[in-house]
């Protein structure tokens, strides 16, 4: 190759005209010949590199198992491995002392540290020929901080404007023996530390995986979506009123590309809570993703339905706005030691349509709770219905997707001129329940909410978001010492996650 290059140069050079004959046009031709030769060499190098690397390095796909696991209830995919065994770091400071068996025996085998929107450890099986199965063990520490500023724009609203730590989490997630994934996550934003995700997932086949521990219930797209990737700063009212959260239990789930499913058995008493009756709750969800196999613009379109049924004890819905204002209270009296004892069922329908920078998401859910012992009214059923529509648009053109990071085309950097990515959004939500519940005049059985969002993604890990929302109460609500007909709130959030 080198000789060929020299010959090409020499040939061009020897063929050059004498000074007297030099003409600008000839020089241009010679140089162009050299440039062509260089271009050919570049192609050759590219070909050699491609041969060497084989399959593309899929670590850069941003679809690591940890990232998916932290996304909540979505099925986990098999670990995607680097195409080549990473090179040794040599024998200098911290380098792995190759060939020293005593060292390996005492301190372990060489692992690598990688960056994939977060730092991770990986141990690669050097004998595994399939690049997709090469990572035998991995471990990743992660975290999230959400600092909020919340302001009630009505001067006479009794709520206090405040800064708050909405979430402060640390977690470990990883994979061992290729097919076992885990997540352990602690929340420190509240007074006491609480466990969030704490589960093990066995994924020998993506069509039927088993998960056990404390994790998100498979009801509603918005609930399954990680807090990090929500369209708005708070989830729709239904998630709080209907107690859609994590539960202790086991789940069978799978992904057949064009569809995915989840079937779970749980306590039905909330996150990391022991059961207060012997009956368990059953939850199921089926989602169709008809365009996913084609991997095109519509790949993330999803239509889903979900259902849960179980018996509960002392479950009385709590009705609160995004800012935590209670807009309806159900006074109860214990009968035979229970304020409620009966079945609870929840039925949901979802439609999510992300198309490039646009995203539309709508959900409907209804909950029926049997035999709530209302003070002065006796036992009766409570039915709550909620629906919402979100419309989002990435002004800077990036694709939004579902339950994943928004990745700006250029990260915000005032020194280099990058501005990050900007997104605007609209939400309308409606919730109603039994009219009789507001008959006492202390609360409303119906509320409508309009919200506007501006999301500024500085880079894949950080965003600054502003939400302005208004809640219209069908009947006046007592808040503190005030009677209010609506609520206007501005929420600002600075979020960092890795």
């Amino acid at each position: 190759m080198r000789r060929a290059a020299l010959a090409a140069i020499a040939l061009v050079w020897l063929a050059a005209p004498s000074p007297g004959e030099e003409a600008e046009g000839d020089a241009r031709k010679r140089l162009e010949a050299l440039e062509r030769r260089l271009a050919e060499q570049e192609k050759e190098i590219e070909a050699l590199k491609a041969d060497r690397e084989g399959a593309p390095d899929r670590r850069r796909d941003g679809a690591s198992v940890e990232a998916q696991a932290r996304g909540g209830g979505a099925p986990l995919a098999p670990e995607q491995a680097p195409a080549q065994k990473p090179p040794a770091t040599g024998g200098l400071h911290g380098g792995f002392p190759r060939g020293e068996e005593e060292f390996e025996k005492k301190f372990g085998k060489e692992a690598v540290i990688t960056w994939d929107q977060g730092f991770g450890f990986r141990y690669v099986d050097p004998d595994e020929p399939d690049p997709g199965r090469r990572v035998l063990f991995s471990l990743r520490p992660g975290g999230m901080i959400q600092v909020d500023g919340r302001s009630f724009t009505d001067a006479d609203h009794p709520g206090d404007d405040t800064f708050l730590m909405r979430r402060a989490r640390l977690l470990l997630t990883g994979t061992f023996y290729r097919s076992f994934d885990f997540v352990v996550e602690g929340e420190f934003a509240e007074t006491n530390a609480q466990i969030r995700d704490a589960f093990l997932n066995a994924s020998f086949t993506k069509y039927a995986q088993v998960r056990g521990g404390n994790f998100k219930v498979p009801i509603l797209r918005e609930q399954i979506t990680s807090d990090k990737y929500l369209d708005f700063l708070e989830r729709p009212l239904a998630t709080g009123v209907m107690a859609l959260d994590r539960e202790l239990g086991f789940m069978l789930h799978g992904d057949a590309d064009f569809a995915n499913y989840q079937a779970m058995i749980a306590n039905g008493t909330g996150p990391n809570a022991r059961d207060n009756n012997d009956d368990k709750e059953f939850l199921g969800r089926l989602a169709l993703t008809p365009f996913k196999p084609a991997r095109g613009l519509l790949r993330d379109v999803e239509i889903a339905g979900s259902y849960s049924y179980g018996h509960t004890r002392d479950f009385v819905p709590v009705f609160r706005t995004y800012a935590g204002t209670t807009f309806l209270t159900i006074p109860t009296t214990a009968v035979n030691g229970a304020t409620q004892k009966g079945y609870r069922q929840r039925t949901g329908a979802e439609l999510t349509i992300p198309v490039g920078p646009f995203k539309a998401q709508a959900e409907w859910i209804q909950m029926r709770v049997e035999d709530v012992n209302r003070t002065g009214a006796g036992a009766g059923d409570v039915t709550v219905t909620d629906w919402y529509v979100d419309l989002m648009y990435m002004v800077t053109g990036e694709a939004r997707g579902v339950n994943r990071r928004a990745v700006p085309e250029t990260s915000f950097d005032p020194l280099d001129g990058g501005w990050g990515a900007f997104e605007v959004g609209l939400r309308f939500e409606h919730l109603d329940t039994n009219e009789a519940l507001s008959a006492s005049g202390d609360g409303t059985d119906e509320v409508n909410i309009g919200a506007v969002a501006l999301n500024w993604y500085w880079n894949p890990l950080m965003k600054l978001a502003v939400n302005v929302y208004r809640a219209w109460f069908d009947e006046t609500v007592t808040a503190g010492d005030e009677r209010i007909e609506n609520e206007d709130v501005i929420i600002v959030r600075w979020q960092l996650e890795f």
């Binding site: 140069i9 060497r52 911290g94 061992f176 589960f199 521990g213």
Partner: protein
């Protein structure tokens, strides 16, 4: 090669028309030189790639990997630190290697490990009229940092989140300069009972024997000197005497001593893990709670001095605990038995001042159906991990436990009925080790109460509980 090529091109330039007519470079010359440089760089790159294809070392290995901190220069090291490395040794470790140390076994100067443990249980009361609710629960959910600084300073810091609060577990620093006499201080396991000293990751059954909970043998804040002599090991400790990360409520401290003989350990043979041990503890306590619970957390009695509704108004006095242990792991078989005794003085009930004696014992018999060695307080390594695709079934083991706890008969009178001073229990266990990090456990537990107990509006003579655990630790 590169020099030869550059010389050839330089000669050509010198002899060429540009060199003859002008010293200053024309735009054409600059363009030509740029091309020349690029051509040389590409040739080097092609050579390196071809050499690698042929399995030969690249002419310049530096081009193949990121530069180390040392190669990037002192300024980089000063700002961002030295290169460390990652290793896999039943978990991921960060290691900093001391390059000046010639002995490979001493080359790591600093180490750090992040680890976790989750035990996700299902507990089923087999009798319909039992007032306890069958439930899923998180028994343990822990995050831990462990490591070593400067070769000899070990530490462990561990937090449990299972109870929806952060509970400190291990939190100690240890000086390990001299193996026969190491010093550990912090919140540490007290040196009593093989079962209590064994990590919950490796215990034989889902729950420890009831006597251990009654005697409150757990972690305490204090300091301990301990050492391993090969054929024996010992621990001598001084602690507050209040369980798990609690300050003392009196000026006296608890003293502990444990001596374990491991006569076959130096031979490293089949009997290497055989252990015979004895331990003793003495201290003063104020308000010491003496509670006996079953594996289903049913309370059989609860001496809770000063608590509302409790007949015991106070406790101030000495507490003594003593234990004897035998552990016999022989290949896939394992037998383990212990006897534990406790005497607590100064229990005030009405006008009486009672000294309460308790004792309990248990015997565990275990067998690995798939032939793996069990050892003591260590992982079971399956011969073949569970993998349906490759036909591996993991390791399977069976076990049975019989245990008994007896308390002072005077307790029954103090509580006025509805409590028992004696319980016997039988537990049968099935252990499935999917791989060294994952275990599924199924236990069936039956307890016989010597006296009928009253709980949750029901009376019980016995209790049947099925416990299922999914455990992973990493």
């Amino acid at each position: 090669m590169q020099r030869v090529m550059r010389a050839a091109v330089a000669l050509a330039i010198a002899l060429g028309p540009a060199g003859a007519v002008a010293q200053e470079k024309t735009p054409g010359e600059e363009r030509l030189e740029a091309l020349e440089r690029r051509l040389a760089e590409q040739e080097e790159e092609i050579e390196a790639l071809k050499a690698r294809e042929a399995g030969q070392p690249a002419p310049d290995a530096k081009a193949d990997r990121p530069a180390s901190a040392a190669e990037r220069g002192e300024k980089f090291e000063k700002t961002f630190g030295f290169d460390a490395l990652a290793t896999w040794q039943e978990g991921f470790w960060l290691r900093y290697v001391d390059e000046s140390e010639p002995d490979p076994e001493k080359r790591v100067l600093h180490s750090l490990r992040l680890s976790t443990r989750v035990q996700s249980d299902f507990r089923l009361f087999a009798e319909d009229d039992h007032p306890g609710d069958s439930t899923f629960l998180i028994r343990r959910a822990r995050l831990a940092f462990t490591g070593t600084f400067y070769h000899h300073i070990d530490f462990s810091a561990e937090v449990d989140f299972a109870a929806n609060e952060a509970d400190l577990k291990d939190a100690w620093v240890q000086l390990s300069y001299f193996k026969p006499a190491m010093l550990r201080a912090g919140n540490l396991r007290v040196p009593m009972s093989r079962e209590a000293l064994t990590s919950s990751r490796y215990i034989n059954f889902i729950e420890r024997p009831m006597i251990i909970g009654l005697l409150a043998i757990d972690r305490e804040i204090g300091a301990q000197v301990h050492g391993d002599l090969g054929f024996a090991n010992y621990q001598i400790a001084l602690t507050n005497g209040n369980p798990v990360n609690s300050r003392d409520n009196n000026d006296d401290k608890d003293g502990w001593v444990r001596l374990a003989l491991t006569p076959f350990k130096p031979g490293k043979g089949l009997l290497g893990d055989v252990e015979v041990a004895a331990s003793y503890n003495y201290g003063h306590t104020n308000g010491f709670r003496q509670r006996l619970r079953t594996y289903g957390e049913t309370v059989l009695f609860d001496v809770n001095p000063g608590a509302t509704g409790n007949p015991f108004s106070d406790q101030t006095g000495t507490r003594q605990r003593a234990g004897a242990e035998v552990t016999l792991p022989i290949g896939p078989f394992k037998a383990q038995g212990e006897f534990l005794y406790q005497r607590v003085e100064g229990n005030q009930v009405g006008p009486d001042d009672l000294a309460l004696d308790y004792h309990g014992w248990y015997v565990d018999l275990l067998y690995m159906l798939t032939g793996e060695s069990m050892g003591t307080a260590k992982r079971v390594i399956p011969k073949k991990n569970f993998d349906p695709g490759e036909g591996g079934l993991g390791a399977w083991g069976l076990g049975v436990r019989f245990e008994q706890v007896q308390a002072e008969e005077a307790l029954r009178g103090a509580f006025g009925g509805g409590r028992t001073d004696e319980v016997n229990a039988l537990t049968a266990g099935l252990n499935w080790y999917l791989n060294p990090n994952t275990r599924v456990m199924l236990n069936y537990y039956r307890a016989w109460f010597d006296e009928t107990i009253a709980t949750g509006g029901e009376t019980l003579d016995n209790e049947d509980v099925v416990l299922l655990r999914l455990q992973f630790e990493f």
